[in-house]
Structure formats: structure tokens, C-alpha cells
Amino acid sequence: MSDSIVWIVLFPLFGAVACSLGGAMSKKICYPVSVLSMLATVWVSVDTLFQAIESPVHEVSYILGGWSLDLFPRGVGIEFRADLLGALIALVVTGVGLIVALYSKVPVQRETPGKEPMYYGLFLLQISGLAGIALTGDAFNLYVLIEVAALTGYGLIALGTNRAAAATFNYIILGTIGASFYLLGVGYLYLKTGTLNMVGIREVIEAHGLFDSPAMQVAFVLVLLGILIKMAFFPFHAWLPNAYCHAPTTTSCLLAPLVTKVMIYVMIRMVLTVFGVEFSFESTWWTEFLPWLVVVAIVCAAVMALAQREIKRMLAYLIVAEVGYMVGGVWIYNYYGLIGSVFHIISDACMTLCLFLGAGIILEKCKTTHFNGLRGLFAKMPLTMIGFFIGGFSIIGLPPTCGFFSKWYLITGGMVSERWEYMITLMFSTIVMVVLFFRLIERIHLAVDESGNNLGKGHGDLGLTKQQTRFDEAPLSMLIPLLLAASVVLLVGVYNQEVVNQIEVFLQPFNLPTGVKYE
């Protein structure tokens, strides 16, 4: 199918419309409609990825409206471009969307009864927006799609518990500030280049030598600032923990793995495709100091994660730390760092999905995700906990999970570009993650409470009644997606070379420094 790239956006869009039209008649159709449209979306995004792999230039280009690209700079009409990076991210977005759509049956009915048509409408439009961000080749179209993704996100989060409204309000303010910065930056870009097409902008920058132009420099700052706010990079992270904590289960499962990661994709896209390597790294002196900001970000986020006593909140701070990893991987300006960043987007999406699906099941069965309510969970829900901990081990970076391999590339990047501060921070944060997850394991398996008092009678007694430790697994509609996500974490880890090969094909033309000095 030659136009499968545009169907990636259209299937969820029409699914959303079908949900809101059909949902008025029967609320029961929403779940099957969204699962079906997500299945179709995943199918076309796999198709697009293979088209991109097989094409000689490794990209699929699609002009909406059928306008020609012959002009220089190009930019009449909007282009959808799926190079290998975009196609991979689109597949991650739609894959996560499918798994969460499968998972959503029980939690959506419980948390937003009677609002299923609206909920699924927003849910599918969110995926449409995020997948569009990954595929668009137009800087302004990117802004529109960011707005689609952001607005649906606000709606989806605000449907949560009572405190979700306040959290959403914070998110709206910061999200809007971020989007405005981005829009202002795009305005400057258009002012200086006269086109909005991403490749077109870079062509003009290179043809007219706009490397030292103040307006372009400020455009770069504004775009970068906007994206950093949107991705919850450390000083701008304040909206994230509350928003993801108080959101409905399905929402946090969808947003946590995707939103921040897609924004990091946007940053990589801006750095490589729009501004170009030479502009981003060589003609801006201050980008050299960004890894130091990353160090602060990772350390603070990791320490704050350590201070949490609730799984969902702890995971939210983990996301902030992981954002630091990926931002750092880009700004250490190194081939391996960028491979690590891109690969970490993919693996972080998988493992965060795994963890949030697990946390959602714990919330569903135990009505709390506080550390004190975890005792004996392994006896109660062994499969859920295995899935959850596969995600956790991947965050720590244990082989053969995908988290190990992406972190390996990030650390390699830090070493070859001699950014020791970044490398040491990664090591430090890994130790923090170990503490975080083994503390959870301890809480589940040992009869010890917060202050170290023994609650059981010894010899493996958890101090719980038989009733409390009886086998009581989550409903299959929640368990299967979790195990699916866990197996994806393992599979991406085992077949990491296949993924990295594609990323390398994408990164080759940019001539990034490999930093190897053998002579």
C-alpha cells in the first residue's frame, strides 16, 4: 500500500470519530472499535517501516494534497516523511497504543463510567497526534500535531481522581508556554528561511550560510526551550509527577511511555534534520554545557524518585531521570550517544509501558499503589509481578532486557566523547534504580514495614492471612497486555542489533564524530 504512511494518522482519527458517533448509540462498541483501529494502525506502521527500510534512500515521502516538491526550498504543501527514525518512532507509538487499548477495558469502565465514547475518542486522537508528530516533515504541521497531542492529553488526565483537575491545570499552563516558545521559534525560522518544510529549512541554512545569524540562533533557543518544557526536562518537570499520578490508569499507561519520548524525538529531529549538525553543535557555543544541565537533572530526579513512597509517583520521577539520559545522549555530540538516545527512546517506551501497566493492575486489585500495600503481592499475582519486574530490571539495565543495550550505547557515547560527568551520572543513576527496585522487591517479599519492624512471625511468614495471599491474578484483558509488553522488552533486548542497524543507517549521512582516536 503506497499510502500507508498517511493511514497511520487516519485510522485512529476515523476510529475516534466512529467512537463519538457510534458511542451515542451504544457505549459497548467503543472498546472493540478502538482495538480494531489500533490493530489497523499498527499494521500500516509496520508496512511503512518496511517501505522505509526497502527504499533506496531509506525514507518514504508523501505530499498531502499532491503538490510538487520541485521548488527550492521545498515547502508548497505539507510533506509526510518517514525516514527510518520517524517510522521506528511511529511504530513505537502505535504499538504502545495497541497494547494500552487492549488493556483499557476494565479500568476505563471503572474509572470513567458512562464517558467511554469521549474517553476513547480522546485516546485515539492522542495516538493520531503522536504518530503524526513522528511522521510529519513540516515544522508548522508539527506544532499543530503537538497541540492535538497536548489537548487530548489534558482531557485524558483531567478525567482522573479529584486532584487530577489541579494537576491538569499546571500541565496546561506549562504545556502552553512550551508550545508558544516552539511556535515563536518556528515563526523566526520562517522569517529567515521562507519555508516551513524541515528539509527545506536546512537546505536554506546551508545554502545561505545562516549559521551565525542572530535570529536563527534565537529561533534555535526558543524551539529547544519549548521542547525541553514539553518533555519535562528537570527544571521544567513540575507538571509531570502530579499529572501522571492522578490520571486514570489507562491515561498514565498511554502518556507516560509516549509523550516525553516523542518530544525527545522532536528534539533529535530539530537538531539533525531542521537545523543540521553543523548549526546545532558547532555554531552554538552554549550547547557544550547542556550535558552539565543533564547531570543536575538526572541526579535531582533520581534522588526525588528515591524519596517517593508510592509506585506511580516514583515511576513519574523515573521518567524525569530517563528524559535526562536521552537529552544527554544527544548533546554529548557523538555517534554512539545518538544511537543510544534513539534506542533509549524505543526501549524506554517499552519498559515504562511495562511498569505503568503493572502499576495499573496493582492499583486495580489493591486499590493503592503505596509501598505499604505491597506485602505478599507475589503470592497473589505472580504473573503481574514478573511482568512488572521485567520492566524494572530493564530500567536498571540488566541484560538481556532492552534497557541494558540502550544504556550501553549511552555510556559508550559518554566515554568516547570524554564527557565523564555524563558517564558517571549514568552509573550513579543506575545504582539509584537498583535501590529503588530492590526496595520494592523487599517490600513485597519481606514482612518489614517502613521503620524496620517485623510484622510476621518469621520463617517467611508475611503476617498476612491466607485470604490475603490467595492466588488472585488480574483479569486477562489486563494481564495479557502486560505480558505482551514484558516480552517486547525482552525481544527488543535480544534483537537489539536489528534495531541498532536501522538507527545506524539513519545516522550515517549526518557524519557525527565517532570520537575514536586510535592513531
Binding site: 499510502d3 498517511v6 487516519l10 482519527l13 470519530v17 463519538s20 458517533l21 451515542a24 508523501y62 505530499i63 498531502l64 494534497g65 499532491g66 503538490w67 521548488l71 527550492f72 526550498p73 521545498r74 515547502g75 508548497v76 504543501g77 505539507i78 470513567t112 458512562g114 464517558k115 469521549m118 474517553y119 475518542g121 480522546l122 486522537l125 493520531s128 497526534g129 503524526g132 508548522f140 504541521n141 499543530v144 497541540e147 492535538v148 489537548l151 487530548t152 482531557g155 483531567a158 478525567l159 479529584n162 483537575a165 523566526y188 520562517y190 522569517l191 529567515k192 528561511t193 521562507g194 519555508t195 516551513l196 536554506v204 545569524s213 542572530p214 535570529a215 536563527m216 540562533q217 534565537v218
Partner: protein, 249 residues
């Protein structure tokens, strides 16, 4: 904290001022934005490509129609989000709003509105239908149309307005607007073009490809108008009653 914010704003202001010295001068025909082949293409070829005299509409609904489709979706999302958050009234409300709306619709006001509303609606349709000739279009026409329903709600009460435009129908109409817009795009996809390539509609309608673009632009504007009208009113109805769809202003 306030001082820090002030200094931060000052820094950003200085940064923007520093960038401004690099701007092309006001109205400079040689500036990249005016002289770039892209802008020139729009100016030179709008008439040839689409037969639409209004270039702004041609850029909005045809050259960059995909953006506009998602802008319409954004409007739809806003309505959907507000409606679903507020629906069923506030959770855990400790104190229900005490005042009972106890007033008779004013004779002068209602009669004036009775006269004005048809005029507003006709004007809204005119703005919508003439969007590709003169300033106007789906967003503007839709807002005027939605405002006419809000005016009914303001001068009588919300019940009267909801009797004419029930809230469920709002969302059906809004979704329909997106179906119209995306459907026109899809039709051109199925006729062998790219998504939103209206010229291919000439294969099933007895017009030239240029006129097909012209008419398809009107079609998508109508879709936009549907969505904006319905969402304007749905937003008003949801927000003015805390989502309970009764009492209110």
C-alpha cells in the same frame, strides 16, 4: 522569586531584541519570507491551481489543508474534553449552587433576539460560503453560527436553546464536520490522488481539476463550520452549567 522571574523575563526580552536586529526590514520585498519561491508560488499560482481569488483561503484549505484539518480536530478535542470532564456535574460538590434561576425572559430582549438571530445565521452562512472569495471561511462562519445559539440561550434560557440544539446532537454534528473534511480528503485518496488532493475529484464530478479544488475548498469549509458551530455551543452549555445542562445563565 518575583525578582528572579523579572530577571528571566528581562533576559528573554533582551534575547528577542538582539534577534530583532537580524530581521528583514518591515515590508521588504527581498526578505526571505516574501521572496522565497514558496511564497511566490502561492501568489503566482493560486489562481492557476485553484481558481480561488482569496489566496489566504487557498493556502489554508488547500496548500496546507492538512494543518486545517487538524485545527478542526483541535476544536473538536476541546469540546470533547470540556464536555467529558464536566459531564454529570462536579464530583464531591459540598455545596450545590444555591441560586435558582427565577426570571421571566424579557419581552424586549427576546423579541429583539427573535429578529437578530435569523440575520446572524444568514450572515454566518454567507461568511462560510464566501470564504474562498472574500475574507471569511469555516471558522469565522461557524463561530457566528454558534454565537446565534448562545444568544438564544442568553435571552431565553439554556433549556430553550438545548431544545433546538440538544447537546448529544452537538457532538454528532461536530464529528460529522470532521467526517466531511477528512471524507473529502479520503475521496481524493480513493480516486487515485494523495490524501486531500482535491483535483482528483474532477474524475467523478463534471468540473475541471481546478474547479474541483475550488468546490472542495467550499466543502471542507462547510465541514469546519459544522464542527466549530457545534463545539461553540457545546462549550457554552457545558461551562455555564458546570456540565449539568440545566439552570445556568
Amino acid at each position: 522569586m518575583k525578582k528572579a522571574a523579572f530577571i528571566l523575563i528581562l533576559c528573554i526580552g533582551l534575547l528577542l531584541a538582539w534577534a530583532a536586529k537580524d530581521f528583514p526590514s518591515w515590508g521588504d520585498p527581498q526578505s526571505p519570507a516574501s521572496s522565497s519561491p514558496v511564497a511566490s508560488h502561492f501568489i503566482a499560482n493560486t489562481g492557476v491551481d485553484t481558481e480561488v481569488p482569496n489566496m489566504v483561503t487557498a493556502v489554508l484549505a488547500d496548500y496546507r489543508g492538512f494543518d486545517t484539518m487538524f485545527e478542526t480536530v483541535v476544536v473538536f478535542i476541546a469540546g470533547l474534553a470540556v464536555f467529558s470532564i464536566l459531564r454529570g456535574g462536579p464530583k464531591n460538590r459540598t455545596r450545590d449552587r444555591e441560586f435558582v434561576v427565577d426570571f421571566e425572559p424579557d419581552l424586549i430582549v427576546t423579541n429583539t433576539v427573535r429578529l437578530i438571530v435569523p440575520v446572524i445565521q444568514i450572515f454566518a452562512l454567507y461568511v462560510l460560503a464566501h470564504g474562498h472569495v472574500s475574507p471569511g471561511g469555516g471558522f469565522q462562519g461557524g463561530v457566528a453560527m454558534g454565537a446565534s445559539f448562545i444568544l438564544i440561550a442568553l435571552s431565553w434560557d439554556l433549556k430553550t436553546a438545548l431544545a433546538r440544539f440538544p447537546i448529544e446532537r452537538c457532538f454528532t454534528v461536530a464529528a460529522l464536520g470532521i467526517v466531511i473534511y477528512a471524507g473529502i480528503g479520503l475521496l481524493s485518496l480513493f480516486l487515485g490522488g494523495e490524501f486531500l488532493d482535491y483535483a482528483h475529484l474532477a474524475k467523478i464530478f463534471p468540473v475541471s481539476p481546478e474547479m474541483a479544488r475550488y468546490h472542495a475548498m467550499l466543502g471542507v469549509e462547510i465541514g469546519v463550520g459544522f464542527t466549530v458551530t457545534a463545539i461553540m455551543f457545546a462549550l457554552y452549555a457545558s461551562l455555564s452549567t458546570d456540565g449539568r445542562m440545566r439552570d445556568g445563565l
